[in-house]
């Protein structure tokens, strides 16, 4: 079996995550889907690093994780404050972009 399959898997997961982002209305779940996409990317990175036989890919993946952590912290904080202000975690309720 060639490691390329990992890439296919990653692609699949990424697509699923993206679809989730688009479908779900609960901000938290949306967030989870984003995490899923990030992880898919990480998987590709790791796989590539294996293929090229150097560790840079892993490094990047590592940074991704860090960033993801930071992002989750802030994001969840936002959700919480949002919920406080409007008693809902639905992304549709924040539809203030309409003219």
């Amino acid at each position: 079996m060639s490691p390329v399959n990992y890439l296919y898997l990653a692609a699949l997961l990424f697509a699923i995550g993206a679809t989730g982002v688009l479908i779900r209305r609960n901000a938290i779940v949306v967030f989870m889907c984003i995490e899923l996409m990030l992880n898919a990317c990480n998987l590709t990175l790791v796989t590539f690093s294996r293929m090229h036989g150097n560790l840079d890919g892993q490094i990047i993946a590592f940074f991704t994780m860090v960033v993801a952590a930071a992002e989750v912290v802030v994001g969840l904080a936002i959700i919480v404050s949002l919920f406080r202000s409007r008693h809902s975690a639905s992304v549709d309720d924040a539809s203030l972009m309409k003219l």
Binding site: L22, M97, L99
Partner: protein, 632 residues
């Protein structure tokens, strides 16, 4: 000596500038300035004339070039003057009669608070008219041509507060513009044909071009002449032009400006000589107009309009003569000069009568004035005898010659036709002039109180008015005879216009005799109709012809229906088209885009997720695109 030529124009032009820009402070003395400068111009004219007489006939033409006017590649228009015998004749007529009428106006316009401006306009007219006759190329002539048009516009509409006057002025200018169009097209044709439009080169090289081209140019010039000289079909403005003050009618619409057409045709003789068809057209126009004017003159009760009709008809004579070629040019000019004298005299007389009658113009409300204004009566009477061609007076000499020449058009039927028309015209002239004479000065009083209800108290006009009339009367009595002494006038003009003796289809004495008979018949008829029985104060309905003639033979009605109404409809519809179609098309597209954007706005529903979808879809498409590019 030649450098004085410019002064002819400069003097009155200066007067116009001073008087028009001078402002109120010139109101008191302005008219003297204007008169003085007119006289100066006349003096210069006389000076040049004497100088000219000194030279031998072939080398009398003088030339003065001032500066290059429009220098453009392959196009030379200079401001340069040429004073030959023809121009000289006009210069003397214009400045002479002009000066007299300036003097006359001092009295006539006494009570008008805008007298200063009036004199300014008169000077402007003199300048333009002189420019017209001493220009040495057609373009400069064109300047004078339109200049006199402007002056006549200003003077006809001098009493602008009267809508009728304003309208008449506009009408005159517009009709003239149509003629001017002819002149400018003629100039363009000359430019494309000869590469220049200076008299000299053009008239010398006529032989080198085709007859067709000459005919075209000739017809265009004829159109111009028709406009300026009130010839059919562009004559309609002259009657209305009588709205202007009487001195204006005398100077511009009788003696000088309206004869510019004759000058133009005579000046362009070489072109017409090369284009018989054009000449025929000229003759026909002249013949038609001379009858037309005469008939109109018979029907009018307004004394000035009656005189206007006769002017039209007399100029018809001149045009006819000018169309006859070398046999006619000299006589055309001669009649022009004599006509200048007696017609100006008649108009001044009419003005004097109106002056005494609270500006009443309807002859039916005159009658028996000879006792009250003797000088006017005598001068008017002499003018009358002159115009009907009473043997011995000016009109006789000039008109008789024209009739001879007309009979000599060719030795076929045409000679008979044109000769006959000219002869008939003489008769009608006698008729309507006698009518005017009788209705004005004879019979019993039919005076009516004017609009304000104050009775007219006819009185002789002041000296300043009568003297010019007397001078002109002298002219109208003796000028013709003087010119005809061993054909001095013809000889004088010969170097410019050439001259051939006409050979009429019937013997000259016969023509003369018949002329006299015809005019006596006409006069007698008029006496029977108006002298013997009572003249009703309100005009009788009259015959069909009479009614048509009162309305200028329905020419105005035709213009009104066809040109005015039609034009109004055209412009209205065009305005509509411009607003709906041309503009509407643009606004339509604008509206279309507006609707489209309205649809597109619905996509922006404000839900982050649907924006995300579009982003995502966009990314997908991008990837697809890249993959495709790779694949291809």
């Amino acid at each position: 000596m030649e450098n004085l030529i410019a002064l002819l124009v400069a003097a009155p032009l200066l007067g116009a500038a001073v008087l028009l820009c001078g402002g109120r402070r010139l109101d008191r003395g302005g008219h003297w300035i204007g008169t003085l400068l007119a006289v100066v111009s006349f003096a210069v004219g006389v000076l040049l004339f004497t100088d000219m007489l000194g030279k031998d006939p072939e080398h009398r033409a003088m030339h003065q070039a001032l500066f290059s006017w429009i220098p453009v590649e392959g196009f030379q228009a200079d401001v340069a003057f040429q004073l030959d015998q023809l121009s000289m004749t006009f210069v003397l007529l214009i400045t002479g009669v002009g000066s007299l009428i300036h003097v006359y106006s001092i009295g006539y316009m006494e009570h008008d608070e805008r007298r200063r401006r009036f004199f300014g306009y008169l000077n402007l007219f003199l300048a333009a008219m002189l420019l017209l006759v001493i220009a040495d190329n057609y373009l400069l002539l064109y300047v004078g041509w339109e200049g006199v048009g402007l002056a006549s516009y200003l003077l006809i509409g001098f009493w602008q507060h009267k809508p009728s006057a304003a309208t008449a002025a506009k009408k005159a200018f517009l009709v003239n513009r149509v003629g001017d169009m002819g002149l400018s097209i003629a100039i363009m044709l000359m430019f494309t044909t000869f590469g220049t439009f200076a008299f000299g080169p053009v008239l010398e090289s006529t032989s080198e071009t085709s007859e067709g081209m000459l005919t075209a140019i000739g017809l265009m010039l004829l159109l111009a002449a028709c406009g300026k000289s009130a010839q059919v079909p562009l004559q309609s403005w002259l009657g209305d032009a009588m709205e202007g003050p009487t001195p204006v009618s005398a100077l511009i619409h009788a003696a000088t400006m309206v004869t510019a057409g004759v000058y133009l045709i005579t000046r362009s003789g070489a072109i017409f000589n090369g284009a018989p068809d054009a000449q025929l057209a000229v003759v026909i126009v002249g013949a038609v107009t001379l009858l037309f004017g005469a008939i109109v003159g018979c029907a009018k009760d307004d004394i000035k309009k009656a005189l206007a009709g006769s002017t039209m008809s007399q100029i018809g004579y001149m045009i006819l003569a000018a169309g006859l070629g070398p046999i006619g040019y000299a006589f055309a000019i001669m009649h022009l000069v004599t006509h200048g004298f007696f017609k100006a005299g008649l108009f001044l007389g009419a003005g004097s009568v109106m002056h005494g009658m609270n500006d009443e113009v309807d002859m039916r409300k005159y009658g028996g004035l000879r006792k009250y204004m003797p000088v006017t009566f005598v001068t008017f009477g002499l003018g009358y005898l002159a115009i009907i061609g009473f043997p011995g007076l000016s009109g006789f000499w000039s008109k008789d010659k024209i009739i001879e020449a007309a009979f000599a058009y060719d030795d076929g039927i045409r000679g008979w036709i044109f000769g006959g028309v000219a002869l008939l015209g003489a008769g009608i002239t006698a008729f309507y002039m006698t009518r005017v004479m009788i209705m004005t000065f004879f019979g019993e009083k039919r005076w009516q109180p004017d609009a304000e209800g104050n009775e007219p108290h006819p009185h002789e006009s002041p000296r300043s008015m009568t003297i010019p009339m007397i001078v002109l009367a002298f002219g109208s009595v003796f000028a013709g005879g003087l010119f005809s002494l061993n054909e001095s006038f013809v000889k004088w003009l010969e170097p410019v216009t050439q001259f051939e003796h006409p050979h009429p289809v019937i013997s000259v004495p016969a023509i003369t005799a018949s002329t006299v008979v015809v005019l006596l018949l006409g006069a007698a008829l008029a006496y029977v109709m108006y002298g013997r029985k009572e003249v009703p104060v309100t005009a009788p309905r009259g015959s069909l012809l009479t009614r048509a003639a009162r309305r200028d033979l329905l020419q105005d009605d035709f213009n009104h229906v066809v040109l005015v109404r039609g034009g109004e409809h055209l412009t209205r519809s065009l305005v509509y088209v411009d607003h709906t179609m041309v503009d509407g098309a643009v606004n339509g597209t604008a509206a279309g885009f507006g609707g489209l954007s309205g649809r597109l706005r619905k996509v922006q529903n404000g839900f982050a997720r649907s924006y995300a979808v579009s982003m995502f879809g966009g990314t997908a498409i991008l990837i697809a695109a890249t993959l495709l590019m790779r694949a291809v």
